[in-house]
Amino acid sequence: MSHAEVWVIAAAAVFGIGLYSLLIASHLLRQLIAIKVMGSAIFLVLVVAAGPIDGALDGLPKALVLTGIVIAISAIAFALALLVRLAEVTGSTSLEDEADDDR
C-alpha cells in the first residue's frame, strides 16, 4: 500500500499498451492477450485506488478482482475456442484480411 501512485501509473501505462495492441495487432491471439493484460491493469487500479482500511488494503475490491479474474479467464477461454474454430473453418487468424463477409 505504499506509494499507490506508482502502481496506478504503471497500471495506466499497461492499459494503454494493451489498448494500442488490441486495436492494432493483426493476430487475434495477441489481441486476446492484450485484453487479459488490460484486465489485470484495471484490477490493479481497482484495488489500489480503493485505498487502505485501517492499515490493510480494503478487502472488498480484492474479492471483486477475484471474480474479475475468473470472468476474464472464461471470456478468454471462449475466445480461444472461437479463434481455433475460425482458423479451422476460414484458415485465417486475423479479422483484418477477410473480404466483405456478408456477400
Binding site: L19, L22, L23, I24, Q31, L95, E96, D100
Partner: protein
C-alpha cells in the same frame, strides 16, 4: 297534376322504348312508336285544366303550371310537334332508336320548359331540350351531320353556360325563385348583369345575327320532321326565355331598346340576304327562320322603349310566334313530300310562303300588322316602320326563291303525307282563332291592307328586274361565317396538338418486369466502402476514442 303527367309521359315512353330496344323486344318497340305522335297533344290538357302543381321532392322544389306568356308557344308546340311526330312515325326508317331517343328527349324537355314554374325546372327542361336536339341533328350520321352537330353543340353549350351564369347570379339572392315572383318584382335585375347573360344565352337558341352560325347548318341537315320541330317550335324556347328572364324596368335607358331594335332589324335583313345566296331549299327556310326571329326581337325591344306595354307585346309576339311556327313547320314538312311533284302540292307549298310574306288576309298579315302597331307605339324614328315594311319585301323575295327551289323537287315516288296539308290548314286557321280569342282588334282598314300590299308589289318588281338582268346568282357556302372560323380553329388546334404532341401521355403500358432495386451508383459504392471500413477494428477503436474524448471535453468543460 295534369302538368306532372304531361312531363312524365314522354320520359316514361322514352324509357319503355329504350328498354324494349335494349332487351330486343322489337315488336313492343313498334307499338310504342305508334304512340309517340300523340304525346304532344297531352300539352293541351293542362292548358284546359289550368292546374298548377307544386312538388317539393323533385329537383329543388318543382313548380308546374301554365300562365299567359306560355299559351301561344304551348299551342304551337302541341300542334306542330304532333303533326311532325305523325310524319316521322311513318317516314323514319333507319337509325330509329337514335332518332326517337332524341325526339322524345326533346319533347320531354319542351314539356318541362313550357310548364315549369321555377327557375331550376326551366333550366332542366332547357338543358334536356338542347342535348336531345343534338341527337336529332346528328341522326343521319353523315360527315355533314357530324360537323353540324359539333358546331351546334359548341354554341348550344356556350349559350347554356351564359344561361347558367345568369341563373346562378339570380339564385345568389333569391334561391330557386318561382318564375312568377321573378317577373313580379324584378328587384334582382339591378344587382347584377344576370339579365344580359340570360339575353345572350337565349339569343343563341333564337339565332340572332352574330350567334346564328349553327342554325343554317343544323336545321337543314336534320331529318325532315326534326327540322320542322327545330325551326318551328324549339327556336321559340329562346323567346320564352327572354319573356321570363329579361324583364324591362321602368326607367330603362333608351339606348338599350334602340340597340335591340337595330339588332332585330339587322338580323331580319341579314337573314334574308344570306338566304338568297343559298342553293338548298331547307337552308333557305333556315335563313328565313333567322330573319323572322329578328322581327321577334324588334317586337321584344319595344318593352325597353316604352313602359307598360307588356300585355300588348305578349299578345303580338305570341301571335307572330304561333303564325311563324306553324307555317315554317309545314314548309319543312313539304320538303319531305316533294312539293314540286304536282300543281296541287305547289299550291299547298305556296300558301304558307304567302303567309310568311305577310300577304293580305293571311295569318302573316295579321301578325305583321300587330307587330307594326306594337313598334309604332315606341317613340322611334319613322324610318323604323319603313324598314319594317321593307322586311316584308325581303321575306317575300326569300319566299319566292324558296318557291323556285321547291318547284325543282318533282320526284313523284315520294307520297304526300297527310300531316303536311293538316299543318298548312292549321297554319291558316289557328292564328285567326287565337287572335279572336285574344281580343286583338281586327280591322281591315284600307290603309293596313295597302300597307301590307305595296311591299309585295315592290318584291315582284325586284324579282322581275333581277331575273332579266344577270341571271347569275351569288353563291355562299352554308353557314357563311362558320367556314372561316372552323378553318381558324383547326389551324390553331393543329399547332396546339403538335405542341402537346411532344408531351404525349407517358407510355405506361403494363410491362410487368418485377421491381428490382436500382443499380448502385458511384456514390452508393463509396458509401458501402465507407461502411465496410467502419467494420474494421482499428477504425472502430479510433472512432470510440474520438467520441469518448469529445464527450469528456463537453461534459467537463461545456457543463457549466
Amino acid at each position: 297534376m295534369s302538368a306532372l303527367v304531361a312531363v312524365i309521359v314522354p320520359l316514361a315512353l322514352l324509357l319503355g322504348l329504350w328498354s324494349a330496344m335494349a332487351l330486343g323486344a322489337v315488336r313492343l318497340a313498334g307499338q310504342l312508336l305508334r304512340l309517340a305522335p300523340w304525346v304532344p297533344l297531352l300539352l293541351l290538357w293542362p292548358l284546359v285544366a289550368g292546374s298548377a302543381g307544386e312538388f317539393t321532392w323533385p329537383l329543388l322544389g318543382m313548380r308546374l303550371g301554365v300562365d299567359a306568356t306560355v299559351v301561344p308557344v304551348l299551342v304551337l308546340a302541341a300542334l306542330a310537334w304532333s303533326a311532325a311526330g305523325w310524319f316521322a312515325g311513318s317516314r323514319i326508317t333507319e337509325g330509329r332508336r337514335w332518332f326517337w331517343t332524341g325526339w322524345l328527349g326533346a319533347l320531354a324537355g319542351m314539356h318541362l320548359l313550357l310548364l315549369a314554374g321555377d327557375m331550376a325546372s326551366f333550366y332542366v327542361g332547357y338543358a334536356l331540350l338542347s342535348l336531345s336536339a343534338y341527337l336529332l341533328v346528328t341522326q343521319p350520321g353523315s360527315d355533314e351531320a357530324w360537323r353540324a352537330g359539333r358546331v351546334y353543340l359548341i354554341m348550344a353549350l356556350a349559350g347554356e353556360g351564359a344561361l347558367l351564369v345568369g341563373l346562378l347570379l339570380i339564385a345568389g339572392s333569391l334561391g330557386n325563385a318561382p318564375l312568377a315572383e321573378l317577373a313580379a318584382n324584378p328587384a334582382w335585375v339591378t344587382e347584377s348583369a344576370a339579365r344580359w347573360w340570360l339575353l345572350a344565352g337565349f339569343a343563341v337558341k333564337l339565332g340572332i345575327l352574330p350567334l346564328h352560325l349553327w342554325l343554317p347548318l343544323a336545321h337543314p341537315v336534320a331529318p325532315v320532321p326534326a327540322s320542322a320541330v327545330l325551326s318551328g317550335v324549339i327556336v321559340k324556347a329562346g323567346l320564352l326565355g327572354w319573356l321570363r328572364f329579361v324583364p324591362a324596368l321602368e326607367g330603362e335607358p333608351q339606348f338599350i331598346g334602340q340597340a335591340l331594335l337595330a339588332l332585330g332589324l339587322a338580323t331580319a335583313l341579314g337573314g334574308v340576304a344570306l338566304g338568297l345566296c343559298q342553293t338548298r331549299l331547307k337552308t333557305v327556310l333556315a335563313y328565313s327562320t333567322i330573319s323572322q326571329m329578328g322581327l321577334l326581337l324588334t317586337g321584344f325591344a319595344v318593352a325597353f322603349l316604352v313602359a307598360g306595354e307588356r300585355p300588348a307585346m305578349l299578345a303580338a309576339l305570341g301571335l307572330f310566334a304561333l303564325h311563324h311556327g306553324l307555317n315554317k313547320a309545314s314548309l319543312f314538312l313539304a320538303c319531305g313530300c316533294a312539293p314540286g311533284a304536282s300543281p296541287w302540292r305547289l299550291a299547298l307549298f305556296a300558301l304558307p310562303t304567302l303567309a310568311l310574306a305577310a300577304a293580305p288576309l293571311t295569318s302573316g298579315y295579321l301578325a305583321k300588322t300587330a307587330l307594326k302597331d306594337l313598334v309604332a307605339l315606341a317613340p322611334t324614328l319613322p324610318l323604323v316602320s319603313l324598314v319594317l315594311s321593307l322586311t316584308s319585301t325581303a321575306t317575300a323575295l326569300l319566299m319566292w326563291k324558296a318557291f323556285g327551289l321547291a318547284r325543282t323537287q318533282t320526284d313523284r315516288s315520294i307520297g304526300l303525307h297527310p300531316a303536311w296539308p293538316l299543318l298548312v290548314v292549321a297554319g291558316v286557321l289557328v292564328p285567326w282563332v287565337y287572335a279572336l280569342a285574344g281580343g286583338l282588334a281586327l280591322e281591315f282598314a284600307p290603309d293596313k291592307l295597302l300597307a301590307s300590299l305595296w311591299p309585295l308589289g315592290l318584291a315582284a318588281l325586284l324579282v322581275l328586274a333581277w331575273t332579266r338582268l344577270s341571271g347569275a346568282a351569288v353563291r355562299l357556302p352554308e353557314g357563311d361565317l362558320v367556314v372561316p372560323i372552323e378553318r381558324l380553329v383547326s389551324l390553331l388546334g393543329g399547332r396546339l396538338r403538335r405542341a402537346n404532341g411532344t408531351r404525349t401521355e407517358a407510355s405506361d403500358d403494363e410491362d410487368d418486369t418485377p421491381h428490382t432495386p436500382g443499380q448502385a451508383s458511384r456514390l452508393v459504392a463509396q458509401l458501402l466502402q465507407l461502411e465496410a471500413l467502419q467494420r474494421r477494428l482499428p477504425v472502430a477503436g479510433l472512432a470510440l476514442l474520438a467520441v469518448g474524448g469529445l464527450l469528456w471535453l463537453l461534459t467537463l468543460f461545456g457543463g457549466r
